[in-house]
Every structure is written in structure tokens, then in C-alpha cells.
């Protein structure tokens, strides 16, 4: 029995538009939510144009496609994820299957390698590979089980429907983050900071995983259904509360030598969308917690990537005299996918940028035409370095909050990928499946 994809009507129009491209094959990503019974596709976005567009006979650039997927994945709040890949090409569906398969696995491998939370047993592991014939407009839909590297294509249903997500629920919260991790004794450069931060985030993710979750002030049992979403166009929003307790530590090396420390302090707005087919409290909790971890990790990752490319090594030796640098992490901005539904995508905004950076990026990555007034900037306020904080430790030489040079278009992101090629994570996704 194959998977069933319920697809937003607007996606049909979008795919049709891609068929009208004159040039070579068009690839892109399908975005939505999985559930055990069926998948919901909410939107689609084509792979951004390269400087030299592909000619008719070219095969898609796997690195380009997967990097696009990685960037897009960071712009999806909880409950939304990249479900798979589409290709619009007049090459026969059977022949393009191999290409699609490579792309689907590469995309999924890259995205999951960046995840800091553990997959759950009830997660769906099928990804979709959609082939569209530009002349006939016919679609061929297959799925692959990405847990099985030898997986073969299984046929799946592809059905269009209007208002797929118009009555989806939203669960959200404002979560405070307070992390402090040591840097190793003799290595304090950016890669070490990256590793230490990831470790700290994993510990925080683990705490969140076992946190008690209250929805609208009540503790619901796992299998209880969230009320609402049954009437069309009635939006349900829920507020969550998370109660955490630290992991108990065995008192073995209580004090250790270190080369410094990194802290992340502030608050983030976390959000997850839930399909309207009787979603359970357990799902809401899982998706919200994952979003919380992802949004902090994404921002830290964005900061590190930019420091790397802008040669942001710490100035001076800083070994004897303590040196402290403060960086403002970007704040989160939401943008609706469609004018009528509740579902939004998000992006991250540094306070000294104009909002046009965000709208440009939404256009490039997600092919969304948004105006600045459509953006929801009220969920978080920009980070502020308070006077008191900078002067907190007189023995520490504080370099005022650095705003790293930013150029977050995909071209620059690709350069960063090259910089990261030495790391194992990248090697993983580049291996052919």
C-alpha cells in the first residue's frame, strides 16, 4: 500500500508554471507535513537559478539542489519540512527516477545531518520523488524509504485539494535560552566553538525532550486529541509551556581546565503547525520541541558560517588577558505562505539590515512574493547589548557587539560549504547513494 499525498491546489499551478520554462530541467522541493496516514504538501519551490543556467541536456547539480534544501529547511517552522524533490523534464519518468533518487537521498542526508534532535520511532521515513512531464503535465509520484539505502521506488498517490492547510492549528511559545559551555583548554578557534556549542545544544535538546509540556495551561495525556481544526477556516492557536529540569550529573570532574567559554542567553519564539486530521497532544509537543532546538541551532550556525567567511578570528592572542566578544543572534520573522492560511515560513533578520533582505531571500529560496508589510516582526524583538552587560566584568576586555558582514544569498552559502568540505558532515552528504 503506497503513501498518499494531499497537495494544496496552488502547487498544481506552480508546477504548471515551471513546465513553461524554456531552458533545461527544473528541480525543486516539496514542503509540507507527514502523518502516519497521509502526507500534506503545502507549497513547492524551484531550485534557485545558478549564474549559468542548465541547458536542456544537463542533469541537475546535486550540490546546488541539496544546498538549497538545507537553506530552505532552516526557514521552515515546526511541523513543516522538506518532503521530497520534484523534477520537471521531458526525459522519461523511468529514466529520471535514478536522478530523482540521488537527489532525494542527498537532500535528506544533508538535512538530517544537521539535526540536533533524535528521530522518533513514529517518524515517517518516506520521501517523495515527483516527476512532471512539461508537455503533458502528467505527474508520476514515487516514494523512497530513506532509512533503507537500498530502498526501491514505491508508487504513491498525488491528489490536489483546495485549502489543505486552511484549518491547521498553531502551537507556540516564547522560550528562554540560557546556555553556558566551556571551550577546550588549548583550542578556541571557531570550529571548536562550533563543536562545543553543538554539544551544549544537544544537552539542551535532551532536557527539552524530557520537559513537561502544558498546552493552554493544562497537562494533556499523549493520545488526547487537540480540539479544533474541524471547522474549516477556524484557526486554532495554542500556547505551550515547557517545564525543564537539568540532567543529574555525577560529581566526577566538577572543575575542569578550559580555554574560555561560550554562552547563549535570550529568548526565542518557537512555533509548530499541526494538520487538521485529529492531531494528538504528543505530536504538538514533539514538533514544538524540535522547532525550539532547530531555531537556536540555526541561528548559531548562521552566525558561525558568517564569521568563518568574513575571517572572524578573534583579534589578539587573548590568552593571558581575557577577551570577550558579544554577538547578537538574529531574530525570527514570519511570512505567510498563502494569504488565507495560518501557515508561515520564517527567516532570520539582523537588526541593522533592512527588511528588504528578508523579502529578497524569501523570493530566492522559497519563490514567495512578499511585501514588507506582510512580514510578522512582532514575535521577537532584536537582541540588545545592555550597557550593564558589557561592563559586567572589568577584567574582561569586551569587544563591542560585532555585526559580521552578511551576504546570505545562496552563492555565498556555497562558498561556506566549500570551507566546510573538510568536515565529516559534508563528506556524508556528498557520497553517492
Amino acid at each position: 500500500m503506497g503513501r498518499s499525498y494531499i497537495v494544496e491546489e496552488a502547487v498544481e499551478g506552480y508546477l504548471t508554471k515551471q513546465c513553461e520554462q524554456k531552458a533545461g530541467p527544473v528541480t525543486g522541493l516539496l514542503i509540507g507535513q507527514s502523518s502516519t496516514q497521509r502526507e500534506f504538501v503545502v507549497t513547492a519551490t524551484r531550485t534557485p537559478q545558478r549564474e549559468e543556467p542548465l541547458a536542456a541536456g544537463d542533469s541537475p547539480d546535486k550540490q546546488w539542489v541539496t544546498e538549497h534544501a538545507r537553506q530552505v529547511s532552516r526557514m521552515l517552522p515546526g511541523g513543516l519540512s522538506v518532503l521530497g524533490v520534484f523534477i520537471v523534464t521531458d526525459i522519461d519518468a523511468k529514466d529520471s527516477l535514478a536522478t530523482l533518487r540521488k537527489l532525494v537521498f542527498a537532500v535528506e542526508n544533508l538535512i538530517s545531518s544537521e539535526r540536533l534532535w533524535n528521530p522518533a520511532d513514529d517518524d515517517v521515513t518516506d520521501c517523495v520523488a515527483l516527476h512532471v512531464n512539461p508537455k503533458t503535465r502528467k505527474t508520476f509520484c514515487r516514494t523512497f524509504d530513506i532509512k533503507d539505502p537500498k530502498s526501491v521506488a514505491k508508487p504513491a498517490d498525488w491528489k490536489y485539494q483546495s485549502g489543505v492547510c486552511s484549518s491547521w492549528s498553531t502551537v507556540s511559545c516564547s522560550l528562554s535560552v540560557d546556555m553556558l559551555v566551556p571551550l577546550p583548554d588549548d583550542r578556541t578557534d571557531l570550529e571548536d566553538m562550533d563543536k562545543c556549542l553543538k554539544e551544549g545544544l544537544k544537552v539542551w535538546a535532551h532536557q527539552l525532550e524530557s520537559a513537561v509540556c502544558l498546552i493552554d495551561g493544562r497537562k494533556l495525556s499523549e493520545d488526547m486529541e487537540l480540539v479544533g481544526g474541524q471547522k474549516r477556516n477556524v484557526r486554532q492557536t495554542y500556547t505551550a509551556q515547557l517545564l525543564i529540569t537539568p540532567d543529574e550529573r555525577r560529581a566526577t570532574d566538577v572543575v575542569q581546565r578550559c580555554g574560555g567559554s561560550v554562552s547563549v542567553r535570550g529568548a526565542i519564539h518557537s512555533r509548530a503547525y499541526l494538520h487538521s486530521n485529529k492531531p494528538k497532544a504528543k505530536l504538538a509537543e514533539k514538533l514544538l520541541k524540535r522547532d525550539a532546538v532547530s531555531t537556536v541551532a540555526t541561528r548559531a550556525q548562521m552566525l558561525l558560517e558568517e564569521l568563518l567567511t568574513s575571517d572572524g578570528e578573534s583579534k589578539g592572542s587573548g590568552r593571558d588577558r581575557p577577551q570577550r566578544e558579544l554577538f547578537c543572534l538574529p531574530h525570527r520573522i514570519f511570512c505567510p505562505v498563502k494569504a488565507s492560511g495560518p501557515v508561515c515560513v520564517c527567516d532570520y533578520h539582523f537588526s541593522d539590515e533592512g527588511l528588504s533582505v528578508v523579502t529578497d531571500r524569501l523570493k530566492e529560496m522559497l519563490d514567495i512574493d512578499a511585501a514588507e508589510k506582510d512580514l510578522d516582526t512582532r514575535q521577537e524583538t532584536p537582541a540588545e547589548v545592555l550597557e550593564g552587560e558589557a561592563a559586567a566584568e572589568p577584567t574582561v576586555e569586551t569587544i563591542e557587539a560585532l555585526e559580521p558582514k552578511r551576504n546570505r544569498y545562496i552563492g555565498v552559502a556555497m562558498a561556506t560549504v566549500v570551507a566546510f568540505l573538510a568536515t565529516a558532515a559534508s563528506m556524508l552528504y556528498l557520497n553517492d547513494v
Binding site: R249, V254, C258, G259, H269, L329, E380, V385, V396
Partner: protein, 473 residues
């Protein structure tokens, strides 16, 4: 070092809050004064966390969650600040309640005499409501230094009075929490050596009424032997006699319904009804012991090990009152000790040879440093006249007695004796039991029970080993 919960003994439930509090800081300098400042500042942060609106107490095994600093707001909504503490029990699902139908009514009524405890978990609410807060700031400090990271095991107890509301009780609980953090700070700063930091560990001790439950914070890793000065101060503070180690770690209060990690039964005699004799009084073993008997620990000593088991019961008493740290010896270790003092030949070790009271005395001395008196009766019928001596033993020493004679060894845990009528009963713990650790069976079938003078072989001679309790704190 201590908080005393001085309520009268007609009290309601005990509220116990436990939870790890993360303690992390960057120690820029190893200069002692600066380290102290950083550590004190981190404690201030913990204090404000505990006093903040984000502090949450969840009742274990129940849906009840309480915010003590938000006007004692609670969920489910049926619970208000004026709800009585004892009403919280209704919300708690315990395994006991599920099996209630299967247990006998008799057993249930006995359990209610123990103090009931409501266990709470200390948590922090990480989410905030209200206006959006600012996005995170990442701060990187580069400096060759030290990093301190651990969790402190907060463990606070408050004894509520009957009809006390949760509003009042939780206010007291918050005070106890902040006080404990102060104590932890003192102990931490007191015991820093260079860059070594000892984790402050709270323990509760049950003092004779009306003092009740008292909490002491000890530095982890410092053995009892090095903390004698502190214990002396505590004895003075609470006006306690100097001949019982109330404050040794092993004597920490064991909360009801907390299972023992080693699986042995503790004090099975507590479930018994004591005999009433004309003008008689009951004299019992003081403190705690474990019941050791045939077939335990995968050792098949059926038929020969009874004296060994009685000796193990006695050793467990000295361990649990904190007089020794040594674990209860195995049969082999007992035999080896006798070989070591020259009391036996090498072939003894690994054999199934019986031992008697003299050997028990020797081993107690060799392995535990405990001296014992030996009492001899030339025939079992004479035991009926030993009431005064046995009573005195339980009054002054309070240790279990090993008695061997005929072909059997037993443990005497107490005596009921009438000075006027001479009537006597003996509380016997029988090491010949071969079954599982089921206190119901053990008391119902008399493996731990009161026996009359005809229990003894009237003709055989008996030796009793009466271990002496060291008079130390």
C-alpha cells in the same frame, strides 16, 4: 548547617522537594577570593531562580503542578491556594492504590501509622508569557581558566500540620529551599581546596520527638570520620546525648515507600503486635537491621549457616547505624576472619562447618572492632530467668543478640518481661527461613515473632553473644 522542622508530633503530611539545580560558572581566576566571589554570585542566581515565578513544583505521580511564587497557583484548576495539603493525596496514583483490593485490610491499617510523604519535583518553567523578549546574544570569552559545572541535589523537607493549606505549606517550603541554598553555599565555600570543589549533599535525620526531621548539608566525599566536629556541634545544638550517632550518614532517615537498594527487609518486627504481660514492659533492639537468613545471596547454607546469618544480621545493624562502613561479610569472609585470628585451620574456609557464639564474638571483634559479652546458661529452662539482663542489654546497648544452643542458632531482637510476675517473651528472628523477602509471610508464619520460654530446648546449654554498642557519635 541545619534547618530544624520543629512541629509537634501530631502532624500531617511531609512535603519533600527534590531536584537537581544546575550550577555552572566560568572561573576566570584561581585566586581564592575571586573564586569565592564568582561562586557566591552563581548561588545568588540560583536563589533568584528559586524565588522567581519560573520556579515550579510538580507532585510526583500526579497531574498536580504548583507555581509557589505566583500566589501558589496550581493546576488542575480544582486546586486552589486554600486547598488542604492532605487533599493532594487524592490526586496521587500509587501502585499501592491499584493493588489495594488484593491486600488484606489488616495490612492497610498498619501502614497508615507511618508518616505519609508527598514527593515533589523541583523544575523551572522555561517559557515566558507577556511581551516578547529579546533574541539571544552569544558571548564568547577566550581566556585560559577553569570551568565549573555540576548539579546540586536539592532535597528539602517540610512537615505540615493537620489542616494546613497549600498556600502556607508551600511558603514554608520555599523558605526551606532558600535556606538550603544558603547552607549549600556555606558548605561549598568551606570545602574548596584549590580548584577542587565538593558537592554539598543534604541528608535528613529523624531526631527524637519533638525535634522531628532535621536537614543537614554535608560535603560529598568527606567521610564521616572527618566530620566529627560538625556532628559535635549538632549534638550540642539539639541537646542530644553523646552516645548515639544520630548524625552519621548511615543514619539518614529512610522515607516510607522508598525501596532499599539492596533488597533485604528492614526491621520486619515493626509489623508485629507486642505481647501484653501483667506489669510487663517491652524492650526492643534500637535502630535498624536487615533480615539475613538461609539461601540468600545465592548461598545454599540450609542446615549449617544459621549462626552465620545471625552474625550477618548483627553486622548489618552496625553498618546501618553508621558505626562501621564495612559491608555485611559473606560466609567466606567470616570463615577467613576466623582463620586469620588463628581460631580455625585453613580447611575451615569453604567448608560447611557450624559456628557458635564464641566465633560470633571473635568475628565481630576482628572485622568490625566490636566487643561483645558472652552469657552462658547451663540449660534452656534458665533463660526464663534472664529477663532483667536481657532487658538491660536492650536499654543500654540496643543491639541484636545471637543465641546458640542445642543444634540451632537464633537472633533475639527484644524481650517482653514483667518484673513482678516474671513472665517473659522473646522476640525471635529466625535465620532458618528459606523463602523470599515477603514481610507478610515472615510475620504471619512466625519467622519473626514473639516466643515463650518453651521455645528453647529446656535441657541443652546455651551461649548468648551480646554485642556492645560503642559510645560514640
Amino acid at each position: 548547617m541545619v534547618v530544624a522542622d520543629s512541629q509537634s508530633s501530631d502532624t500531617g503530611t511531609i512535603l519533600r522537594v527534590r531536584g537537581p539545580l544546575e550550577f555552572k560558572c566560568h572561573l576566570d581566576s584561581t585566586d581564592a577570593r575571586l573564586m569565592h566571589k564568582v561562586i557566591s554570585r552563581t548561588f545568588e542566581t540560583l536563589q533568584s531562580q528559586v524565588k522567581s515565578e519560573s520556579c515550579v513544583l510538580t507532585v510526583c505521580d500526579s497531574p498536580v503542578i504548583i507555581w509557589p511564587n505566583r500566589g501558589v497557583y496550581a493546576i488542575p484548576e480544582e486546586i486552589t491556594p486554600n486547598t488542604l495539603c492532605e487533599d493532594i493525596h487524592q490526586w496521587i496514583q500509587s501502585d499501592e492504590q491499584e493493588a489495594a483490593g488484593k491486600r488484606s485490610a489488616k495490612k492497610k491499617s498498619k501502614k497508615s501509622s507511618a508518616a505519609s510523604v508527598i514527593n515533589l519535583r523541583l523544575m523551572m518553567e522555561a517559557t515566558k508569557t507577556g511581551r516578547p523578549l529579546s533574541a539571544p546574544i552569544l558571548s564568547r570569552t577566550v581566556h585560559k581558566s577553569h570551568f565549573l559545572s555540576t548539579t546540586f541535589p536539592v532535597d528539602c523537607v517540610v512537615r505540615t500540620t493537620v489542616n494546613e493549606t497549600i498556600k502556607d505549606a508551600f511558603e514554608r517550603l520555599l523558605e526551606a529551599l532558600t535556606h538550603q541554598l544558603c547552607e549549600m553555599e556555606k558548605v561549598t565555600l568551606q570545602h574548596i581546596k584549590g580548584t577542587t570543589l565538593l558537592v554539598p549533599q543534604p541528608l535528613h535525620f529523624l531526631l527524637p520527638e519533638p525535634k522531628g526531621l532535621v536537614t543537614v548539608v554535608y560535603p560529598a566525599g568527606v567521610p564521616d570520620s572527618q566530620l566529627e566536629t560538625q556532628r559535635k556541634e549538632l549534638h550540642q545544638q539539639f541537646e542530644l546525648p553523646d552516645d548515639w550517632p544520630y548524625f552519621r550518614r548511615a543514619n539518614a532517615y529512610h522515607f516510607p515507600n522508598e525501596p532499599y537498594k539492596d533488597g533485604y527487609l528492614r526491621n520486619p518486627h515493626l509489623g508485629l503486635t507486642h505481647p501484653t504481660l501483667d506489669n510487663g514492659k517491652v524492650y526492643l533492639v534500637q535502630g535498624f537491621y536487615s533480615y539475613h537468613h538461609y539461601m540468600q545471596d545465592h548461598v545454599d547454607d540450609n542446615g549449617w549457616g544459621c549462626a552465620y546469618r545471625s552474625l550477618q544480621t548483627i553486622c548489618s545493624w552496625f553498618q546501618q547505624q553508621g558505626f562501621v562502613e564495612r559491608a555485611v561479610p559473606t560466609h567466606r569472609e567470616i570463615q577467613q576472619a576466623l582463620l586469620d585470628v588463628g581460631d580455625k585451620q585453613a580447611s575451615f574456609v569453604g567448608s560447611r562447618q557450624w559456628i557458635g557464639s564464641i566465633e560470633v564474638q571473635v568475628v565481630l571483634n576482628q572485622l568490625l572492632g566490636v566487643t561483645s559479652k558472652i552469657m552462658f546458661v547451663s540449660q534452656g529452662s534458665e533463660l526464663a530467668s534472664k529477663g532483667r539482663e536481657l532487658a538491660n542489654h536492650f536499654l543500654t546497648d540496643g543491639t541484636p543478640i545471637m543465641i546458640g544452643g542445642g543444634v540451632l542458632a537464633h537472633t533475639i531482637l527484644g524481650v517482653a518481661w514483667s518484673e513482678t510476675s516474671g513472665q517473659i517473651r522473646y522476640l525471635i528472628l529466625d535465620p532458618h527461613y528459606t523463602g523470599a523477602e515477603d514481610s507478610q509471610v515472615i510475620t504471619d508464619k512466625g519467622w519473626c515473632g514473639w516466643k515463650g520460654p518453651d521455645f528453647w530446648d529446656q535441657i541443652a546449654y546455651y551461649n548468648l553473644c551480646l554485642p556492645q554498642r560503642p559510645k560514640v557519635i
